[in-house]
């Protein structure tokens, strides 16, 4: 993922994914601003997220957990999720992928906000549940690309057909797995 981010450094308007986004870049004001906000901020969210489920860190260094947690929450709420919503509206693959990315960004914002508010109210169980959900959606950055490789390898579909599928496959199964896990935990 760092490598994927790295191809957008230094800042340019015609590399990688942007090669097929020149229409949006020239016609939609601020597209490039939102795109780069998303790219540059999301990588920190992803890296920050990985540290947060470490129980030893939480136990021994609760301050570190809290600080990285704040970085995770505020980056999503102010940068990654709003920019994700904006570029989601202009996503490749037409209506079906647009609605997926827009839903994804709204849920991402909501789960992260709830995760933050619940811990402010000292409700650890709910905080955990919402942060699991939040990170399931964060991790869709990885699973979406992972599914793409598999689908292309197996079926060689047209690029945008694949895109419509992975738009959903990237985050819905992640969320279902987390919900299933939370459901089992709640029964215990």
């Amino acid at each position: 993922m760092i490598q994927i981010t790295w191809q957008y450094i230094p800042f340019r308007n015609d590399v990688a994914f942007l090669q097929i986004k020149q229409t949006e870049i020239s016609e939609i004001p601020f597209y490039l601003v939102f795109f780069y906000t998303h790219v540059y901020s999301a990588i920190f969210v992803l890296l920050a997220g990985f540290t947060q489920f470490n129980s030893r860190l939480l136990k021994n260094q609760p301050v570190v957990h809290r600080n990285i947690g704040k970085l995770y929450v505020f980056t999503i709420l102010f940068l990654s999720a709003p920019s994700g919503l904006f570029i989601g509206v202009f996503a490749n693959g037409g209506f079906y992928s647009k609605i997926s990315f827009v839903t994804l960004s709204i849920l991402w914002f909501y789960f992260t906000l709830k995760g933050f508010l619940t811990i402010k109210n000292k409700n650890i169980a709910l905080h955990k549940a919402f942060m699991y959900r939040s990170f399931a959606l964060t991790f869709s950055a990885v699973t979406l690309r992972f599914w793409k490789v598999i689908l292309v390898y197996l079926f060689q579909p047209s690029p945008m057909d694949v895109y419509q599928i992975i738009a959903w496959l990237g985050w819905v199964p992640n969320l279902l797995i987390v919900e299933y896990y939370l459901y089992n935990q709640s029964k215990k």
Binding site: I20, T23, N92, R145, F146, V149, Y153, S158, M160, Y163
Partner: protein, 303 residues
């Protein structure tokens, strides 16, 4: 004085004579250089087949090669033409003679004695060219080829489209070479399941989508949304169709396999860059960008 007069007359006569001589020489040269039968000028296009080959050597599988003989200039003493085979063009020179209503041509390739040969053909009814090519080197694998070519006028028409209904499959570049090899190993181990192990062409080779017969890359200014769902092969064919319309003689066999069988395709030029329209230039740039994106990103981890 008399002598002087004789000399004067002699000089006069002589000069007159030489002038006359020059004139006849000139007119003879003119007759030789005068272009004749110009209605035979143009492209004769078709396929060449192997007529004679060295049977002691293993047969090399080859596609029927498109051959274009472009007659450029005919005079009493000389015929200048050009032959284009597999995207490679070469001048051919020789003579023409006429018997009855048929014209016989003998034209030689020059420059590469090892691989060159001689074309012998006749043109029937001004439209059909029938003949052979014989290699200079009798030890070559293929020593004689025959062909029947039809006159085809080249005219740039931006509205020409690839024929619908044909399959455009890239047989030149099988995509799963490793899988194929593995399978061959398996079939050797287990000869019973032999037939089941054959894969359908679409799994082994890249096939183009129907878009290549519906999108005109020469007359419409293409936009990104039209191209987003196309695979690299579609993009390549769309771009090369522009060059095919201009009569570009493709050198890559991967490209030629798609255009050699297109009825309107006449390979006549090795460089058409100057003929491209503004729309075509823009489309080529756009298509290239999408080809690069497809190449870098289609099957890799990323978007």
């Amino acid at each position: 004085m008399k002598n002087l007069l004789y000399l004067f007359v002699a000089v006069l006569l002589f000069s007159c004579n030489s002038k006359e001589k020059k004139d006849t020489k000139k007119s003879h040269l003119l007759a030789e250089n005068k272009e004749i039968r110009t209605y035979l000028y143009g492209s004769f296009v078709g396929y060449s087949m192997i007529e004679e080959r060295d049977t002691t050597k293993p047969m090399i599988e080859e596609n029927a090669a498109t051959i274009n003989i472009l007659i450029k200039r005919i005079t009493e003493s000389e015929v200048i033409a050009q032959r284009i085979i597999d995207g490679k063009s070469k001048p051919i020179k020789g003579q023409m003679r006429k018997t009855g209503n048929t014209f016989y041509f003998t034209l030689k390739e020059t420059g590469d004695p090892k691989n060159d040969g001689v074309f012998n053909f006749e043109i029937q009814k001004d439209t059909t060219l029938v003949g052979t090519w014989t290699a200079n080197d009798p030890t070559r694998g293929v020593t004689k080829r025959k062909f029947i070519l039809r006159k085809r006028e080249f005219k740039y028409d931006p509205n020409l489209m690839l024929p619908e209904g044909d399959m455009y499959i890239d047989y030149e570049n099988p995509k799963k070479v490793e899988a194929e090899e593995q399978e061959q190993e398996e079939t050797e181990k287990d000869s019973i399941s032999d037939e089941e192990d054959y894969e359908s062409p679409s799994e082994l080779f890249r096939a183009a989508s129907g878009a290549i017969t519906t999108i005109n890359s020469s007359t419409t200014k293409l936009n990104e949304s039209q191209l987003k769902n196309l695979k690299k092969l579609d993009l390549e064919i769309l771009r090369n169709t522009i060059f095919a319309r201009h009569g570009y003689a493709f050198k890559s066999s991967t490209v030629r396999q798609f255009f050699d069988f297109v009825p309107w395709y006449v390979p006549i030029s090795e460089n058409v860059d100057a003929q491209l329209s503004e729309t075509e230039k823009q489309n080529i740039a756009l298509l290239k960008r999408f080809e690069k994106y497809a190449e870098d990103n289609y099957d890799s981890f990323g978007r």
